[in-house]
């Protein structure tokens, strides 16, 4: 007689499904319908999907602002109702439903803001991507180190190190590639400090991270004020990588210019995100890394060197963050400025969690931040009047709502932050 037990050995119970998602949706629907639709203005808004010089120019789309608000509001109401029905049938609303909902809500928001003006879609999208790159790369560094069980609070410091070295070394050598390399190596060295202290000396990982941020800020400020500020022409004028238009692809309407007319730093990010996904989930190294982050002792018992795995993943993560830092300077504005990462490393930390330690989700979350930043700038330019302090808050409020309403409890790698002490 066999007593085999298999998954689902117990009879299934009725599942209670959280009403959180439809409730949040209902709130947004109300805002769109009432403020953008019913109370919205009838001024026309012009959606420009392509720039005039694009190969395939699409015609502009002109429509009254409140019309869009009303139409989208009605569609959103339908989606919300559908979500309520799903929940009442004990089914989870699918992720794509939330995504479609969000996309439509954003279109309504843009149309409302741009009443009597233009929505330069390509401009918004390409800026959102560029602004998202440092955050996304910082988040990838965070994922790489947290997936092996090392909490990385030092992303901010890694970005700043990368930004600094890219600009300075790029200027001094007059070679941006050398600058890029220096940024990656420098941030990797910083990561090695994090790795060594947390793995070898078993220092609390949060402490090391916090301290490294303080130190990097101190050292770069010190060097900036003592050196760069006085010799900007030689030491802090690297210029930026040229923008490379990828033939054919960059001519795809709407998305082409935003995705395929970028700098090498952006393309590298486009490569790194899927590559990281591939390595984490499809290769031997990734399997081992995740094992170390979930259950280091178990990994050890099958002959995986936990300390070495952690060390290298954290270090290479540092290289990625260094690249993100370089994207701030030689991938965007050129010169380095004091504290120019300005908290983006912390945003990256939030993005790691928001993206549930998954490269693609984190990439999308980073894009959300990039979009939010450009939204503030753009909204202010097309419809000045909303207090700037409030618009500045938008990305943070959106993240809060996303975390509270859609993400909720997340499951970190089980050994995240746990030192591994061998007997």
């Amino acid at each position: 007689m066999k007593t085999e037990v298999t998954p689902g050995m117990f009879s299934q119970a009725e599942i209670a499904v959280s009403k959180k998602t439809p409730i949040v949706m209902a709130g947004f629907t109300a805002i769109v319908l009432v403020f953008f639709g019913i109370l919205g203005t009838g001024d026309v808004v012009v959606w420009q999907f392509t720039k005039p010089d694009d190969t395939f120019a699409l015609p502009d789309f002109t429509v009254a602002s409140n019309t869009i608000g009303l139409i989208i509001g009605v569609v959103l109401a339908a989606i919300t109702a559908y979500a309520f029905v799903l929940v009442s049938q004990k089914k989870h609303p699918a992720l794509w439903l939330s995504l479609v909902f969000g996309l439509l809500a954003v279109i309504a928001l843009l149309s409302w803001l741009a009443a009597g003006n233009k929505v330069q879609f390509a401009f918004i999208l390409s800026n959102a991507i560029v602004l998202a790159i440092p955050i996304a790369l910082g988040a990838m560094a965070g994922i790489m180190s947290e997936r092996v069980g090392v909490v990385n609070i030092a992303i901010e410091g890694q970005l700043l190190t990368g930004a600094f070295l890219a600009a300075v070394v790029g200027s001094l050598t007059d070679n941006l590639w050398v600058g890029l390399l220096a940024a990656m190596v420098g941030a990797a060295l910083l990561s090695m400090v994090l790795a060594t202290f947390s793995i070898k000396f078993l220092v609390d990982q949060i402490i090391v991270g916090v301290v490294l941020n303080v130190l990097v800020l101190g050292v770069t400020n010190f060097l900036y004020s003592q050196w760069l500020a006085n010799d900007g022409k030689n030491a802090n004028f690297p210029g930026t990588f040229p923008i490379i238009e990828i033939p054919v692809l960059s001519e795809i309407p709407i998305l082409g210019p935003a995705l395929f007319e970028n700098r090498i730093t952006t393309y590298l990010a486009f490569l790194i995100i899927p590559a990281l996904w591939f390595f984490l989930f499809k290769t031997k190294l990734g399997l081992r890394a995740r094992a170390v982050g979930e259950h280091p002792l178990a990994a050890d018992t099958v002959g995986i060197n936990v300390a070495r795995t952690r060390f290298w993943w954290v270090t290479i993560g540092g290289m990625v963050a260094g690249l993100g830092g370089a994207a701030l300077t030689i991938g965007s504005v050129g010169a380095f400025g004091r504290d120019m990462s300005g908290g983006q490393g912390f945003i990256a930390l939030a993005v790691v969690i928001l993206g549930r330690w998954h490269p693609f989700s984190a990439g999308a979350a980073a894009l959300l931040f990039g979009f939010a930043i450009i939204l503030r700038i753009w909204a202010n330019q097309v419809s000045p009047g909303i207090p700037t302090d409030f618009i500045t808050m938008v990305p943070y409020v959106v993240t809060l709502i996303a975390v509270v309403g859609f993400v909720g409890r997340v499951r970190a790698p089980a050994a995240d932050g746990q030192p591994y002490i061998k007997g």
Binding site: V130, I374, I377, Q381
Partner: protein
């Protein structure tokens, strides 16, 4: 008392370390002769939040001190403030160091410096962008930046081929918007003079709405995106009033692939940061360096008594001015003549740069 000349150390830590290795075997120098005889006068400065190297008003004041040190032989000392918490202690440190005059830079220090002046009547103070609350030992330095910005706006509109010019600020505070307002009316004046519609993006003095970075972080991605947005709105002259934003703006220009230029603030950026001169149209100078130098010289060298009279930098007294024009598209001699005419008008009070 130590003479602080830390800003002279251009190649510091890294080059310094290299020097230890490479040049460690140089011959020992003979005892040096100082060129300028030392004067027993200590001039000090306390910065606003931020560093002395902000390519903006903190730096201008600091350079005034350095100039006084180099040319007059006075001794100098300084302290940077990281936050408002540091204002009073920094001023106190200067009092403890027996500074003969202490320059408090920035509007934010006005309360602290007034308190310090009241508590230490024997010491002398200067407040830049501030005012005196009846303290005879406190001398305010102020600037009518709208005057030179007006000229910049006029020049910008003249230069522009699209007749769209842009400006944006670090934060929405009067010290910033004063520039932007002058710029706005200057550009409008050119439009009126030439019967052409000129559009100013980024600031509207009537509604007090405009584009602001939100902080004074140098060369942030946000700053660049604002510039890019203005370029996308066809602006071809950009006037960023937020410290060192020239890397961000020049990159936005390069990226947009347009022949746009920018206008510097506070200092002649073509000179102080020559790397950006190819994009500069001109700069709106706030000549604190000279004001500071003059005040120190007046007392330390010329032996005049300190007075608490307000110094207002204007076009008239040269406290503010437009830097030499570079990269102008049209007839430079003609526009220079016109700008001189406007300058005279403003000095005479015939033209109001604030509308």
């Amino acid at each position: 008392m130590k003479t602080s000349t830390k800003r002279a150390l251009s190649g510091l830590a890294m080059t310094g370390a290299a020097a230890l290795v490479l040049a460690g075997c140089a011959a020992a120098p003979a005892p040096e002769e100082t060129e300028v005889p030392e004067v027993d006068y200590l001039a000090c400065a306390v910065s606003d939040e931020g560093s002395w190297n902000d390519k903006s008003f903190n730096q201008s004041v600091y350079e005034g001190l350095e100039k006084a040190n180099a040319e007059l032989g006075v001794q100098i000392s300084d302290a940077e403030s990281a936050s408002p918490d540091d204002f009073a202690p920094n001023l106190q440190a200067m009092i403890d160091a027996s500074c003969d005059v202490t320059i408090a830079v920035g509007f934010n220090l006005v309360a602290a410096v007034n308190e310090a002046a009241a508590a230490n009547p024997e010491a002398n103070f200067v407040t830049v962008d501030g005012w005196s609350e009846g303290n005879a030992n406190l001398k305010p330095i102020n600037y009518a930046m709208n005057q030179s910005s007006y000229l910049a706006g006029y020049l910008a509109a003249a230069h522009s081929t699209t007749k769209v010019v842009g400006t944006y600020g670090g934060m929405q505070i009067p010290a910033v918007t004063d520039f932007m307002t002058g710029f706005y009316y200057g550009a409008m004046a050119w439009g009126a003079d030439n019967g052409t519609d000129v559009t100013v993006v980024g600031w509207d003095p009537a509604t007090e709405k405009g584009d602001f970075i939100g902080d004074f972080t140098p060369n942030s991605g946000t700053s660049k995106s604002i510039a890019a947005g203005q370029l996308a709105a066809d602006a071809d002259v950009i006037f960023p009033v937020g410290g060192d934003q020239f890397g961000a703006v020049s990159e936005a220009i390069t990226e947009a692939g347009v022949a746009a230029v920018m206008i510097g603030v506070d200092k002649d950026i073509s000179v102080t940061s020559p790397e950006y001169s190819q994009w500069m149209l001109t700069s709106v100078e706030k000549r604190m360096t000279n004001a500071v130098f003059d005040i120190i010289k007046d007392i330390a060298i010329d032996g005049n008594a300190f007075n608490g009279d307000t110094y207002l930098g204007t076009l008239e007294n040269g406290g503010t001015a437009l830097s030499p024009i570079t990269n102008f598209s049209g007839d430079q001699a003609a526009i220079e003549a016109k700008l001189q005419e406007l300058t005279d008008g403003i000095i005479a009070g015939d033209i109001n740069p604030l509308g």
